[in-house]
Symmetry: C2
Subunit: 352 residues, 2 copies
């Protein structure tokens, strides 16, 4: 604590990202990274762009990337906003739309950055408990609010809401912005981007960190009606005019173009997830049905924290959250087939 | 305007960056980019790092880069903060230290993003007029304040305060944070980093966009006492955990290492600046003595706006600010010798 800090900074409780170990001998199943590398076309495009042009500022409007995203989702260019990872996009969305009289609503168990943004921007919030089965009960959101946000599929549970459920919520909630954070949507869910034309208050957030294998490049996007995108642009140009560097822009554009590679790696992750889930069921693990690139599992007998530590000793990193309601679970990112075989074997020794 | 926008976003007046034309036939003297490419070692390091590791998140703490910057400036690692360009670093510094009861102080003519941050974070400010000669009169800052910020050398004037002057200010002003924004310091000024050990309230901001030829990579830094750096880390981890991507981190580290290249390109820019200033003096231009990589010039007869338009017609871009007190001036980035010869020849035809 310093006497020079503003009151806001004194009261922050910053987000704590998953461990990024410096040495490479871990099987890293703790931060939901994709086990497959980015498309070879992405690597080639970045290398080709690594030249003297780095002395120049990037395009502050990121037009090429917006066009690529718009084309992929069949949207207009001005329905797309991009930022330095979906975390920055979310932060700007919070100040642009959620700083209102009424509190915003989000699940008690969800991406833990949401509450951090609320403190940072002094936004009131109410956390709505998930059901005992970790379901988002949308009728609980039918109350006055300054905005609604949820991750779909949710994190760290992996549970999905259907498009019909989201549409029903939007029909009930027309006076505040609804943000659907689809970081994991490509691993089995249906995107709410399809609803953008019908609702002036819907914003959908994507990231290239998971399904596009580009966590290291920091690219996120928001898609929604032009008026909401305009609001985000105003906020962005009051914070940082050039959030995406030249190489991130080039790499992201190429990642969007290589749909074939993208689909094949997503398919592999889904297959490995289903195999892993089946194997863990054989070992008596209980789990939430996942449509993400991770699974959320507990063992009926051995505490999650114990398993977490024992796995770490065997150089396998998973994520354990020491928080009410979820401290019996491990969140396990889906790795390669080989990673998951090693993981299942390790667990097998621990529980038998 | 949208009914979904927060009040803050309605009232913003976003920053407007200099034009970044899509086609390449301009001599681009409008955004203070370095005319020389980044060090070849930077290019090589980035290419070498462009591989499958992009699927993984970058180091959220940016330790390697902090070590490199600390080493260059003879600081400790924990006296350095890094961000997505100095614009992001400045934004986080504003919320961390400047959101106070008293208004912050900065010059009426300076980097135009400062007032934008104040609106974004709802920070009260007073703009202190420069003298008629565009000097910062430091005695004007001896009043209760929530913080003080100035660019040194100042923008868009290029005028420098000496280290003695800054030290005198710091001795007078111990209860609020003083930020010295040294984006252009490497082109002839003396850095206030030397004073960090003596003042617990001094923060110095640097960027790799100008003197390190890396505007396209988006890397900025703050240097100061550990307590101030801690405050910035808290804010950063409440906004975006991974603001620097893997390639930016690698490139920035290598740029810091190649001091020889850095010194030689800075020297060339300074030489070209002095040549250009001498030539423009021959053409009767008046100018502010510059220690930056740009000059701020006016012609006694021909309006700056006219010169700006005529230069643009000849594919030479410079910066014109249509604002009180400075609308008689052009801000001209120092390019290569060849760029500046073309520029001087073009002006010569216009004024003769």
């Amino acid at each position: 604590m310093s006497k020079y800090w503003s009151q806001i900074v004194r009261e922050l409780e910053p987000y704590v990202p998953g461990e990024q170990p410096k040495n490479q001998h871990f099987i890293k199943l703790n931060t939901n990274e994709n086990p497959y590398p980015p498309s070879p076309r992405v690597i080639a495009a970045i290398k080709a762009a690594t030249d003297s042009s780095l002395r120049r500022y990037p395009d502050p409007n990121c037009d090429d990337l917006k066009h690529s995203i718009a084309k992929y989702h069949d949207l207009d260019h001005d329905q797309v906003f991009v930022g330095n990872g979906s975390d920055e996009v979310l932060a700007l969305a919070f100040i642009s739309f959620f700083k209102q009289q009424e509190p915003i609503l989000f699940p008690d168990i969800t991406y833990s950055f949401y509450i951090v943004y609320c403190r940072f921007f002094e936004i009131a919030c109410e956390r709505i408990p998930l059901t005992g089965d970790f379901d988002i009960s949308l009728s609980d959101y039918e109350r006055p609010n300054g905005g609604i946000i949820f991750a779909n599929p949710n994190a760290p549970t992996g549970k999905l809401l259907t498009l019909d459920e989201i549409e029903a919520l939007l029909k009930q909630n027309r006076d505040s912005v609804v943000i659907v954070d689809e970081a994991y949507i490509d691993f089995g869910g249906e995107s709410a981007v399809a609803l953008i034309g019908d609702f002036p208050n819907l914003l959908v957030i994507h990231t290239l960190s998971k399904s596009r294998s580009l966590a290291g490049l920091r690219v996120g996007a928001a898609m929604g009606p032009v008026e909401l995108i305009d609001g985000l642009e105003r906020a962005k140009n009051s914070f940082n005019s050039y959030p995406l560097d030249r190489l991130a822009l080039v790499g992201a554009v190429e990642a969007l173009r290589d749909s074939e590679y993208f689909r094949s790696t997503c398919k592999k992750v889904i297959q490995t997830r289903e195999w892993t889930a089946a194997e863990l069921t054989k070992l008596s693990f209980e789990m939430v049905p996942s449509t993400a690139n991770f699974i959320f599992v507990k063992h009926p007998r051995i505490p999650a924290e114990t398993l977490f530590s024992q796995l770490r000793e065997q150089n396998i990193l998973v994520r354990y959250f020491d928080k009410p309601r979820i401290n019996e679970f491990l969140r396990v990112t889906i790795g390669t087939d080989e990673d998951m075989q090693t993981f299942v074997q390790a667990l097998s020794r621990m529980v038998n």
